[in-house]
C-alpha cells in the first residue's frame, strides 16, 4: 500500500492547484476577443478548448508515481495530466496560444500536446491514445527496462474499440500499462448510464483477465494509493491494470458548451465535490497549516501567471512553417540515390 506522505500531499496539492488555476486562467484568456459574439475561431486562443477543472486528482494520483522515462498518453482534455507529468508548462502554454516556441511549434494546439522530454503525447480522437500507450509498454518489455506506460481516457471512451482491443493486447502480453479512466459522468451531453454498461467501468478488466479497480471518490489520496499499486504492478512486470477514477466536470465539455442538457443540480453537485478542498482538509489534519497552503497556492498562481505571460510574448509562427514537419527532416538512414550494380539484370530481377 503506497500511502501518501505529508510531502507527497504537498506535491499533489501544488500540482492540483496549479492545474485548477491554469484552467481558470485559460478560461479567461480564451474569452479575450470573443465578446459579445462568442466566435470560437477568434481571440488569442482559437479552436476548441476542453478544460479539466475537477479532474486533478486522477492526474496527480497516478502521474506522481511516474518517472520522466515513463510514457503518458492523454486525450483531448490533457492539461492537468500534462502538469502532473511535468510537461514544460511555459512551452505547453505557448503551444495553446499557437506560438512558434510552443511544444509543437504551433502545429498541435491544446488537444495535441507532445513533449518527448517527459514522454508525453496526446490524441484528440476518443480512446486512440490507448494503442500507442500499449506500444510504449511493449517497447519497455522488449528492451527489458522497467518503465511503464499510462493511457488516460474519459468514461465515454471505454465503449470504443481502440480501448477494448488495447486491453486485450496489453493483457495477453502482460505489458506494463495502466489505463486510467477519468469518469466525470458525462460524454459531452450523454450521461454515462445512457450509453455505457456496466456502470463501473473497471469491470471491463474482468473480461480480459486483468486487474480492474475503481476509486469511487474524487480523492487524491485514494487515487494515489490505487495508482501506486497499478504502477508498481506494471513496473515489476506483473501486467496491466485498468483504473477508473470518479472525477467531476466543473466546466462545460468545451468552451462554448452552454450545458443546457445538464441539470443544474448535477452542476452544483460537481462543484461541491472539490478534490482540492478535500485534500487541503486532509493536509490540515497532518498539521500542514493554512499559511503553508496559501504559500503553495501563491507559488502555483505565480507559476501559471509566468507561463501565460511568457507564452503571450512569444512570436506566432511564420505562415510558411506550415510546410515543415510533415516528415522527419532531415531523414536518417535512407539515401536519395539508387545503387548501381554491375550485374543490373540480376538486380532488376530479370529472367535467369
Amino acid at each position: 500500500m503506497t500511502t501518501a506522505s505529508p510531502d507527497q500531499l504537498r506535491r499533489m496539492y501544488e500540482d492540483m492547484v496549479t492545474a485548477r488555476l491554469y484552467e481558470e486562467r485559460l478560461q479567461d484568456e480564451y474569452m479575450e476577443g470573443k465578446r459579445p459574439g462568442f466566435d470560437i475561431s477568434t481571440g488569442e486562443i482559437p479552436g476548441e478548448l476542453h478544460l479539466a477543472a475537477g479532474q486533478e486528482a486522477a492526474a496527480v494520483g497516478v502521474c506522481h508515481h511516474l518517472r520522466d522515462d515513463d510514457t503518458v498518453t492523454a486525450p483531448h482534455r490533457p492539461h492537468h495530466v500534462a502538469i502532473a507529468k511535468r510537461v514544460d508548462l511555459k512551452r505547453m502554454t505557448a503551444e495553446i496560444f499557437g506560438r512558434e516556441t510552443g511544444l509543437c511549434s504551433g502545429k498541435g494546439g491544446h488537444m495535441h500536446l507532445f513533449d518527448p522530454d517527459v514522454n508525453f503525447a496526446c490524441s484528440g480522437i476518443i480512446a486512440e491514445g490507448c494503442p500507442p500507450a500499449v506500444g510504449a509498454g511493449l517497447a519497455a518489455k522488449k528492451r527489458n527496462t522497467d518503465s511503464v506506460a499510462v493511457a488516460y481516457l474519459g468514461e465515454g471512451a471505454i465503449d470504443q474499440g481502440g480501448f477494448l482491443e488495447s486491453l486485450n493486447l496489453a493483457s495477453v502480453h502482460d505489458l506494463p500499462v495502466v489505463f486510467v479512466v477519468e469518469d466525470n459522468d458525462w460524454a459531452i451531453s450523454m450521461p454515462k448510464e445512457r450509453v455505457t454498461r456496466p456502470d463501473d467501468g473497471s469491470k471491463r478488466a474482468d473480461g480480459f483477465d486483468m486487474h480492474g479497480v475503481r476509486v469511487d471518490s474524487d480523492d487524491a489520496r485514494a487515487v494515489y494509493e490505487a495508482g501506486g499499486e497499478a504502477v508498481g504492478r506494471a513496473r515489476d512486470g506483473n501486467g496491466p491494470t485498468l483504473l477508473e477514477v470518479q472525477v467531476h466536470r466543473r466546466m462545460g465539455h468545451f468552451m462554448g458548451d452552454p450545458e443546457t442538457y445538464r441539470p443544474e443540480e448535477d452542476q452544483e453537485r460537481a462543484a461541491a465535490r472539490d478534490s482540492i478542498d478535500r485534500l487541503a482538509a486532509d493536509m490540515r489534519e497532518f498539521g500542514i497549516d493554512d499559511q503553508e497552503l496559501e504559500e503553495i497556492r501563491d507559488r502555483a498562481a505565480n507559476r501559471v501567471d509566468e507561463a501565460v505571460t511568457w507564452a503571450k510574448q512569444q512570436p506566432l509562427p511564420e505562415p510558411e512553417a506550415a510546410h515543415d514537419h510533415a516528415f522527419t527532416n532531415p531523414p536518417e538512414g535512407v539515401t536519395s540515390e539508387e545503387p548501381e550494380f554491375a550485374d543490373s539484370g540480376a538486380a532488376a530481377g530479370g529472367d535467369d
Partner: protein
C-alpha cells in the same frame, strides 16, 4: 445566390435549419427513418444538425449512441439492409478512421457484393472543414477520400436551399449517401457563417437530384469549380474580380458522386480557363479529378488550368499556418488572374 423563385418563399433559413427541416419531414412521413449519433438527442448535434428533433420524435427515433463508431455506423448498415432508413452521424469526418471498415467495406460494398440483392438505404451525415483552428484531427474535409471509394454517393451542400433538397434526396435514395456538411456554413452562433449559406428555403419538401452541379454565378472569362465553404469564397473572389473586368463563372459541384462533369465541361468550353478550388488535400483529390475529366473529354477546350487546395500537409493549429494552408478568397482570385493572363 438565390433565384427569384427561391426569393418568393419569403423566409430564410440557416443551413442547419434547412437540414433539420428535411430530416423532420422524412421522419414524419416514414416511421422507418431514424437518426442516431453522439450528442444528437439533448444537445441537438454539436453542429446543430438535429436541433429540436428529440422533442418531436423522442429517444427511440433520435438516439444518442455510445462513442463506438464502428458499432453504430455498422448497425446503421444492418438496419438499412433490414429495410429501415437510418441516418447515422459521424460527429467529425476526421473520426472516420475508427470505423472505416463499416463505412467502406460494408456500407459501400454490400450492394455490389450481393449482386444487388441487398440495398443499404442509409445516410451518413458528417461535419467537415476547418477555418477555426481545431488542428489536424478535427479540421479535414476528406471530400476526395470518400468520393474515391466506390459504392457511396457523396454530397456537400453550400447553401440552405441546396442542403434541404439534397437531404430529402439522400434519405429517399436507396443507396448509402455520405452527407458532408461544412461546420462553417451551418449558421451556428459560435462559428459564424459567411454571407451566402443562409438562403430562402421553401417550407414544403423538394428534392435536388444528385449529380447536378449548380452554376452559382455566370461569367465568360474563367470557370471556377468548387464546393462547400469555398463556393462562398469563390463568389467573393468573383465579386472582386468583376471590378477588375474579369467575369468568373462559379460552379458549385454540390455532389461529388455522382459527379456532374457535363456542366463543368460546358463551362470550360465557354471560358477555356479552369480553376478548381478545394478545401481538401491537393494530391489525388477533387482538383485532380475535375481537371483530368476535362482533359480527357476535351483537351482542346483547355487553355489554362490551375488548382487551389490544401498543400499535402495535415491542417496545422496556429492561425497564421492554418490560414496559409486553407485557400482564402485572395488565393482564389490570384489563381483566376493567373489563368486569365
Amino acid at each position: 445566390m438565390s433565384t427569384p423563385e427561391q426569393e418568393a418563399v419569403g423566409r430564410t433559413a440557416t443551413m442547419s435549419d434547412a437540414m433539420v427541416e428535411a430530416v423532420a419531414h422524412e421522419m414524419r412521413a416514414d416511421e422507418e427513418v431514424f437518426y442516431m449519433g453522439e450528442d444528437v438527442a439533448d444537445y441537438g448535434g454539436i453542429f446543430d444538425s438535429t436541433t429540436g428533433l428529440l422533442d418531436e420524435f423522442g429517444r427511440d427515433r433520435v438516439m444518442d449512441v455510445p462513442i463506438s463508431e464502428t458499432a453504430y455506423l455498422g448497425a446503421a448498415v444492418g438496419a438499412a439492409q433490414a429495410g429501415m432508413r437510418p441516418i447515422a452521424e459521424l460527429m467529425f469526418v476526421d473520426f472516420f478512421g475508427v470505423a472505416m471498415d463499416q463505412i467502406y467495406n460494408q456500407m459501400a460494398k454490400n450492394t455490389y457484393m450481393s449482386g444487388g440483392s441487398f440495398s443499404v438505404p442509409m445516410v451518413l451525415t458528417t461535419a467537415v472543414g476547418g477555418t477555426y483552428n481545431d488542428a489536424a484531427q478535427h479540421s479535414q474535409t476528406l471530400y476526395g477520400t470518400f468520393a474515391h471509394l466506390p459504392g457511396m454517393k457523396v454530397v456537400a451542400p453550400s447553401t440552405a436551399y441546396d442542403a434541404k433538397g439534397l437531404m430529402h434526396n439522400a434519405i429517399r435514395d436507396d443507396d448509402p449517401v455520405v452527407y458532408m456538411f461544412h461546420k462553417r456554413l451551418m449558421g451556428i452562433g459560435w462559428l459564424p457563417a459567411p454571407d451566402g449559406p443562409k438562403t430562402p428555403v421553401p417550407k414544403e419538401d423538394y428534392t435536388i437530384p444528385f449529380g447536378k452541379a449548380d452554376v452559382k454565378r455566370e461569367g465568360d472569362d474563367v470557370t471556377v469549380v468548387t464546393l462547400g465553404l469555398h463556393v462562398h469564397r469563390a463568389l467573393e473572389a468573383a465579386e472582386m474580380l468583376a471590378d477588375e473586368g474579369i467575369e468568373t463563372e462559379v460552379i458549385d459541384l454540390r455532389t461529388l458522386k455522382p459527379l456532374d462533369r457535363e456542366t463543368v465541361l460546358e463551362s470550360v468550353r465557354k471560358t477555356g480557363r479552369l480553376v478548381v478550388v478545394d478545401e481538401d488535400y491537393r494530391s489525388y483529390g477533387v482538383t485532380g479529378e475535375i481537371i483530368s475529366s476535362v482533359a480527357e473529354a476535351d483537351l482542346d477546350s483547355l487553355e489554362a488550368v490551375e488548382r487551389v487546395a490544401v498543400p499535402d500537409v495535415p491542417i496545422p493549429y496556429s492561425r497564421p499556418m492554418e490560414d496559409a494552408v486553407i485557400p482564402g478568397t485572395d488565393d482564389v482570385a490570384e489563381a483566376v488572374r493567373s489563368v486569365g493572363e
